[in-house]
Symmetry: C2
Subunit: 326 residues, 2 copies
């Protein structure tokens, strides 16, 4: 082998002696102008959980400044974790990944993405949902995990249009009780009032029809709610079961796995009750690791499904191998 680090990485010695520069190659064949565009592939991914077809629908991303993101860790430690994961250390792209369950043609959504209310780099949900062959009029049930805007805003456009006109909307009772309480909204600090108002924007027009669900219940066939409080008071995870197959749907039990699966005691600024969120996170990651259960995270990199392994005092997220076969 004649390669050396210097010649390969510098590449300068080689630039002077190309085999067939662009001019030379242009004369050797007549090629039509390419029509390839620069779009990314559609952001959906299908997998099976027993008989249930699951489709992940990506809603793009939003960049989050790293400084100030974690309440109880030094910036240098957070940046070291990001560097270990080969991620940017200044501004982290946080992604949004909802789930579609197809059970013999009955379509259930779990969360809805940002709709037209998110960052300009989000709002990809509807195009990806349609690319996956779905139509919003077909949606039978929308199950909401908690009332943060990136999970509920896809239910209603800014102009008031209901996006899933035929869907029953199901929300955690504890989440409804907290966010729809006017007295609590009025007492909330200014910085939190927007979240209360956002929940009203989405849910008030359908308040009489929203179905509220309890924990440890089968919300739709095969999908059982799991209390996962801390991130918000009524934040909900799920166990999806079909035959022997299971999927633990983690919702926002962690934000980005490279930070919070690796370091489950770190607290993102989004966690309303940091101690409770930490206890929930440790408990559920422990369970996933012990059971070698497949998991799905809302904020893991697309396609946002994999497994959890114990690693030192924390855990590791191991993404599934992408498969051309569903």
């Amino acid at each position: 082998m004649t390669m050396t680090r210097r010649t390969i990485l510098a590449g300068t010695a080689l630039a002077a002696a190309p085999i067939g520069g662009s001019a030379a190659l242009a004369q050797t064949s007549s090629t039509p102008a390419p029509s390839a565009d620069a779009r990314q592939a559609p952001g959906f991914y299908r997998y099976k959980v027993g008989d249930i077809e699951v489709t992940v629908i990506n809603d793009g991303f939003a960049r989050r400044p790293v400084e100030g993101f974690i309440k109880n860790a030094e910036l240098k430690d957070v940046q070291a974790a990001l560097q270990d994961a080969f991620l940017p250390t200044d501004s982290l792209p946080l992604t949004f990944n909802t789930l579609v369950l197809n059970q013999g043609g009955k379509i259930t959504l779990i969360d809805t993405g940002n709709g037209d209310s998110g960052a300009p780099t989000s709002g990809r949900w509807m195009a990806n949902f349609r690319a996956a062959g779905f139509d919003p009029a077909q949606v039978h049930t929308v199950v909401i995990s908690h009332f943060h805007g990136d999970h509920i805003n896809g239910l209603r456009l800014k102009d008031g249009t209901a996006v899933f006109p035929n869907a029953e909307v199901m929300v955690p009772e504890a989440e409804w009780a907290f966010w729809m309480d006017d007295a609590r909204m009025n007492q909330a600090p200014e910085g939190m009032k927007g979240a209360f108002q956002g929940a009203r924007r989405v849910f008030s027009p359908i308040a009489n029809n929203v179905k509220r669900y309890e924990m440890d219940k089968e919300v739709v066939p095969g999908l059982t709610s799991i209390a996962a409080p801390g991130h918000t008071p009524g934040h909900t995870a799920y166990m999806l079961s079909s035959g022997q197959a299971k999927l633990m749907i983690m919702s926002d039990v962690t934000n980005h796995p490279a930070l919070f699966v690796r370091n489950p005691d770190w607290s993102a600024v989004f966690d309303m009750d940091a101690d409770q969120a930490r206890a929930t996170r440790r408990k559920m990651l422990d369970m996933a690791a012990s059971e070698r259960a497949q998991v799905a995270f809302y904020h893991a990199p697309f396609p946002a499904t994999g497994h959890i392994a114990k690693d030192g005092n924390g855990f590791r997220f191991v993404p599934v191998q992408w498969s051309a076969a569903v």
Copy 2:
């Protein structure tokens, strides 16, 4: 929190009390029949290396029995490595991922996939290539890394049709010298004759037009060949450079990263000179880790690009975070 491992993972206690079983929900709304099909998203992924647009094109997969796959490791150790990666321990899906370089409309392929000569679970290349907006008639140059069938068979259909009629085909001189040598073919063991014949099937009709390239040369602008022998005598890796940006294209320096990045001294049965392949692998993985260079592997899980970190006596492959933005 009321969840327990028993109630969550068993889920039996809950099945008796669904909120809204399918019959109940069917009465609450009238939904059209869903048209969603069960297809996977198209297997292409775009990213930039400086000014060069790179598109990974997946050609599906082939299942490889784990037993007998690695020449110098105990089956139980191989199965432990697969279990650590949450992969099947009996039969491993090996994937095929070619690269398309788009440089101002000039299209270069690096390897071509299986064409119609591979396992029934492969042969997805053309559909994915077209889904990415490309046309085979637009391909200006095809650069071949080595002469194994899963890299070259996409050049020519079984019926003899040339798939890229306007492309210049560029191959490693050392690879041509080895596989196109009739004396060597005649002396080869029976089990190897198919590979020699396969190279003739693809290349003989264009033998006078094939361009043979040397190592440490700029094969097309920005793409420099790197001698990476062992897997085959003329097996070639590449450095793709544009401005300060670089991508180390590893070809088959490793097969599946969960096995051979983690355990670089293991030898797959495909490596013709195991000792040389091991030396090449260690050298290139060391370089990638030291430089924190982005890498691409032909047989890594799609989209088959990421970074290399040292980990004990081996390395870890850290896939890139999928991005909706190119």
